[in-house]
C-alpha cells in the first residue's frame, strides 16, 4: 500500500485500445448465451440426474440407474423425511438438502437435482428447457464461429492469446505476482499475462468441447458422424464430459468475474464496452 501513497497525485495513466470491436461484441453475446445454456442445461440434466461412462446407461432390473459416475436425488432418512443427496462413483451420500436433490420451489420442498433458481424454466419442464437450450446453442455456435474466424484471420489469437517465449520464461514470477493480486503496469499491462492467456485458451477449448460433446448426444448427428461420440468414449461418456466441461466453464466464469472486480472493475468493464483500457504507468518492483 505504501507505494500507492508514495506515487505523485497525478500518477500518469494512459488509455490504450485493448479490445477490438469483434472481440467486444462476441464477448457479450457469448456471456448471455452461456448463462442461458447453463440454466437450460441444468433443467435438461434434472430430467435424468445420473451420469454414466461408456456408450449406454446402466440399469438394474427395476429400471434404476446403477454404476453411475454421479447421481443426484432425494432419499428418505430414518425419520421418514427426505434428504437431498449427491453420490459420486457409488461412494457415501453427500447430504445437500436445500441445494441439490431437494430444494424449495414455490414454498414446497421439491425433489429435483438442481434448484428452481438455477434452472430455466424454473419449474420442471424438459421440453421448454430443450427449446431454450437449442435456440441459444445456435446463437452461441454462430457467435463462436465469428470469433474463431476473426481470431485466426485477424491474428487476434497469435497476437493476444499465444504466450510469448519471454512470458513462458517468467511463468513462475507471474504466477506468484498473480496469486498476490499484484497486477502489471506500464507496457506489461498492455498485453495479457501468461496466466490470463492460458486461462482464456483453456476456456475456449472447454467451450469447443461443450459443442462437440453436445453434438455427440444428438442421434441425428451420431448417424452422420459416428466417430464423434466415440472421441469421448461413447454417447453417455460424452454426456458426462458435457457436464464436466460445463462445470469448468462455470469455474472459469467465477474466477473471471472475481478477477475483473479485484483488478479494477470499471476499467475492465469499460474496456470490454468501448475498447479503451487505462493502464498505470511505471513498473512494479
Amino acid at each position: 500500500m505504501s507505494e500507492i501513497a508514495a506515487r505523485p497525485p497525478n500518477a500518469a495513466k494512459k488509455l490504450v485500445y485493448r479490445h477490438a470491436l469483434v472481440v467486444r461484441i462476441t464477448h457479450w453475446i457469448n456471456a448471455v448465451c452461456i448463462l442461458f445454456l447453463l440454466m437450460s442445461g441444468l433443467q435438461i440434466f434434472n430430467a435424468h440426474p445420473h451420469l454414466y461412462w461408456g456408450e449406454a446407461s446402466t440399469f438394474d432390473d427395476q429400471n434404476r440407474p446403477i454404476d453411475t459416475f454421479l447421481s443426484i436425488g432425494a432419499v428418505r432418512n430414518a425419520d421418514g423425511e427426505r434428504d437431498g443427496v449427491v453420490q459420486i462413483m457409488g461412494g457415501d451420500f453427500i447430504y445437500t438438502t436445500g441445494f441439490l436433490g431437494l430444494s424449495q420451489h414455490n414454498g414446497e420442498p421439491a425433489a429435483r437435482a438442481f434448484p428452481a433458481w438455477l434452472t430455466l424454466p424454473s419449474g420442471r419442464d424438459l421440453a421448454a428447457g430443450r427449446l431454450w437450450h437449442f435456440l441459444f446453442a445456435w446463437i452461441f455456435v454462430i457467435n463462436g464461429l465469428v470469433y474463431v474466424v476473426y481470431g485466426l484471420a485477424g491474428r487476434h489469437f497469435w497476437r493476444d492469446l499465444l504466450p510469448s517465449r519471454d512470458q513462458w520464461r517468467s511463468f513462475g514470477g507471474t504466477l506468484w505476482d498473480h496469486l498476490r493480486l499484484r497486477f502489471p503496469r506500464g507496457e506489461e499491462a498492455t498485453r495479457y499475462n501468461i496466466i490470463q492467456k492460458l486461462a482464456y485458451i483453456i476456456a475456449i477449448l472447454a467451450l469447443i468441447v461443450m459443442v462437440m460433446t453436445g453434438l455427440s448426444m444428438s442421434p441425428g448427428i451420431n448417424a452422420a458422424a459416428p466417430w464423434l461420440p466415440e472421441l469421448f468414449g461413447g454417447r453417455q461418456s460424452a454426456r458426462t464430459f458435457h457436464f464436466i466441461s460445463a462445470f469448468l466453464v462455470v469455474l472459469f466464469a467465477l474466477v473471471h468475474i472475481i478477477m475483473v472486480i479485484v483488478s479494477g472493475v470499471w476499467n475492465n468493464i469499460r474496456s470490454m464496452i468501448t475498447g479503451r483500457f487505462s493502464i498505470k504507468q511505471g513498473t512494479r518492483k
Binding site: L35, M39, I44, F45, A47, H48, H50, Y52, E55, A56, S57, T58, F59, D60, D61, N63, P65, G98, F99, S103, Q104, P115, A116, W117, L118, L120, P121, S122, G123, D125, L126, A127, A128, R130, L131, W132, F134, L135, W138, M217, S218, P219, G220, I221, N222, A223, A224, A225, P226, R235, Q236, R239
Partner: protein, 262 residues
Amino acid sequence: MSQRLLVNRRRFLTLAGGGASGLLLAGCDSWSTPTSTFRTVLDQTDKLTEAAQRLVLGDQTLAREFTEADISLHFRANGSTEIDDPEYNRMAAAGFADYRLEISGLVQRPLSLSLDDLRALPARTQITRHDCVEGWSSIGKWTGPQLSSVLDMAGLLPGARYVMFYCWDQLNQARLGRLHYYESVGMEDALHAQTILAHAINDEILPIRHGAPLRLRVERQLGYKHAKFLRGIEVVASFADIGEGKGGYYEDGDGYEWYAGI
C-alpha cells in the same frame, strides 16, 4: 451453532441466487409456456435444426449398429409399461392371435394385418442405441419388417407426406387430459432402411413393457418417436388437423420438438 450457521448461509445463498436470477427467470418462465408468443420463436429452432441435420445426414445414412456384446443387460422400459384397457389385455392374454394393424389414409389398398402377416414379411434385425429425451441410453436388438415394405404393400397415393402412428396406450396429459399415444414421422424417415415395426427385442417376443405386440423404431431420432403398442398407421398429407396439429402426443401436450434428431 453450526446448524444455525448452515441454515442462515443456505437461506442467504438461496435469497441471493434467487434475487439475481429471479428477474431473468420470471420473464423467461412466462415466455416458456406453450401458449406464449415467444414459444413460436423457440419452435422455429427445431426447423433450423432439422434443416441443418438433414443437410449433413442425407436420407439414407444409417444409424450406427452395435454388436451382441454391446447389448444392455437391462434395457430401460419407459413411457407406458402396462395398459389399462380390457380389449388390449384380452388380446394380450390370447397371445395377440386376433391382433390387427390397420393401415389407412393416402394408400391405394388399406390393409388390416395380423401379427402372422407381419412376421411373414422379410425382417430386419438391428442392434441400435436407444436415446431417450431425458438423457439416458440403452442398447437393444430389434427385429421386424421394414415400414417401407408395409407401405409398399399398401401403395402410397400422391400427396403422402407423413405417417401417423396410433397406439393402444393412454397417458394423462396435464393440459389435454387422457389421450391415446400418437406420433408421426416424415416420408424420409418412414422409408428409411432402419425404420422397422419391431415384434422382437433381443430375440424374444416383444414384452408388454416394451410395447407389445409391435413398436416403431426410428433409429435417427429420440425415444419418444418410437411409438409403442401400435394399433393403426395412417398416411397423411399433413397432420395440422390431428390433435393440436404438432404431430404427436408429446409435441401437442408438452411442446417437445417434432423433429427429434437432437
